[in-house]
């Protein structure tokens, strides 16, 4: 049923000064890359990727950027919020060697997929790009789990200095990957899509959402592809035909907003 289950937050963790994880009990099966609709009473209800997947406990990790995420950021253990889902498809993970590329908070939705790949004994390289050192999180989690991790920061305060796509270009030309999987700013993903050429490619898109279960049409891209239902993860064949990809998204009214 697409109705928010109201529950109490079990635990919260500050990942950085602006990024927080909220853990709660939600014993549903989840494919890495799927998302929840999170209801912050009296404020908003927003789509949010699952960042921790345990049998009973699930987690979301987010940066405070707007009204909803700022309100969510203030919640603490014992506070109530609503959760419905999971929604969407998630990543299809296979092959011998995978390159994950995450930009900004994209690493929150990538992390469970990295863990799934490693559980499947796939050789896993992960690139994380951030503006600067203070916006990086989950590096230890990913390293500890057994992925080979590379970091880039725009200002060079940690790891490679420059864009994560430059780092990706280098990795792609020096290695043979079966898949490139990504989540982050859409222009970054578009660039990566161009770099990936003949490699199997999947990107997770983000759009303004309302229902989350495929009826309202708010999040549609291309020829009526619902990001909440047929997405949020699309492969290279589909992305090729989505004219919106890397070009525009729509605001709540449906107006086009250029990236």
């Amino acid at each position: 049923m697409n109705y928010p289950k109201v529950l109490k937050i079990i635990e919260t963790r500050n990942e950085t000064s602006d990024i927080k994880t909220i853990m709660f009990e939600y014993p549903e099966d989840i494919t890495p890359g799927q998302f929840f609709m999170i209801w912050i009473p009296n404020i908003d209800e927003i789509p949010m990727s699952v960042s921790f997947i345990d049998k009973k406990i699930k987690g979301i990790t987010f940066k405070r950027i707007g009204d909803a995420t700022n309100a969510l950021f203030k919640l603490k253990a014992g506070d109530k919020m609503g959760v419905r889902g999971p929604y969407g498809n998630g990543f299809k993970i296979n092959g011998q060697r995978i390159l994950f590329v995450a930009g900004g908070t994209g690493i929150a939705m990538i992390a469970p997929s990295v863990e799934k790949a490693i559980n499947k004994e796939i050789k896993t390289n992960v690139l994380i790009g951030a503006k600067n050192k203070s916006e990086l999180f989950f590096e230890n989690r990913i390293k500890k789990y057994g992925a080979e991790l590379f970091v880039s920061t725009d200002d060079g305060s940690q790891g490679y200095k420059g864009f994560v796509t430059d780092l990706a270009k280098e990795k792609i030309s020096n290695n043979k990957f079966d898949q490139v999987l990504t989540c982050g700013p859409e222009l970054m993903m578009k660039k990566l899509f161009e770099l990936s050429q003949n490699i199997s490619f999947q990107a997770s898109l983000e759009r303004y959402m309302k229902c989350g279960f495929g009826i309202c049409g708010q999040c549609c891209v291309g020829k009526g592809l619902r990001v909440c239902k047929e997405g949020p993860v699309f492969n290279e064949k589909t992305l090729k035909n989505i004219e919106d990809f890397g070009v525009f998204k729509r605001d709540a009214s449906g107006r086009k907003i250029k990236f």
């Binding site: 049923m1 109705y3 109201v6 009473p41 927003i46 309202c216 549609c220 009214s253 449906g254 107006r255």
Partner: protein, 279 residues
Amino acid sequence: MDKDAGSIERVFNSGAGAIVTKSIGLKPRNGFPNPTVIELEHGILNAIGLPNPGIDNFKEELLKLKKLNIPVIGSIFGSDYKEFVTLAEKMQNYGVNALELNLSCPHAKGYGLEIGCDPNLVKEITFKVKKSTKIPVFVKISPNLANITEVAKSAEEGNADGIVAINTVKAMKIDLELQMPVLSNKIGGYSGNAVKPIGIRCVYEISKNIDIPIIGVGGITTGKDAIEYFMAGASAVQVGSAIYYRGLDVFKKICDEIKIWMKHHEYNNLSDLIGAAHK
């Protein structure tokens, strides 16, 4: 699935005969904050608050659809007849095949039902829109009215080409844990299975009192649901929530089911079924 050309094209390719657009107003409008759509046991409750990009931004979607030759019914909402006329003229210029006047949205202040409950306003708006356009004009009316027949009649008197009945039924869901309404607008409109008997009753009552065609809508999920609406007096039907219940190919499924039912019951013409329950 009624907000942009790509989605409308997909719905058309899934077997719909024509597509009614999201209701469009003069200016861009964000609608209400979420939660705006939730599922309940027997239907879907929504209060999205008439979000739309505004008629001028919607133009490019309509022109694309015109190129593809997809039959489009442009739904419009306004606060008075002047707004309706401006919108209607623009819709016609951008190539829509017919117009639907939203005089029944149950949850937006100053629009929809707040105007559509007044028979005089309904007549005036319909009349003025008809006078300034050449394409068919349908008036969508609300079940949340004691005088639904009177409102339908006033649309007919305003020269409407058809009545669309019903819009969603005013409803509310309160969450027990939070002790508050779930929708941000508190009150919403209920659609899906649960409202079908209400729609059937409305269409039946209206068709007894008017001579123009009725487009039946409300909870139609199967071919049999559509046939029930035909028997109540509808000449065509609209389908929305059933996309969730049966997938996008619900349009083709319903058409096939209607054909099968007619074959079993030895009907060759759908028109023989229209109003059959009024004998």
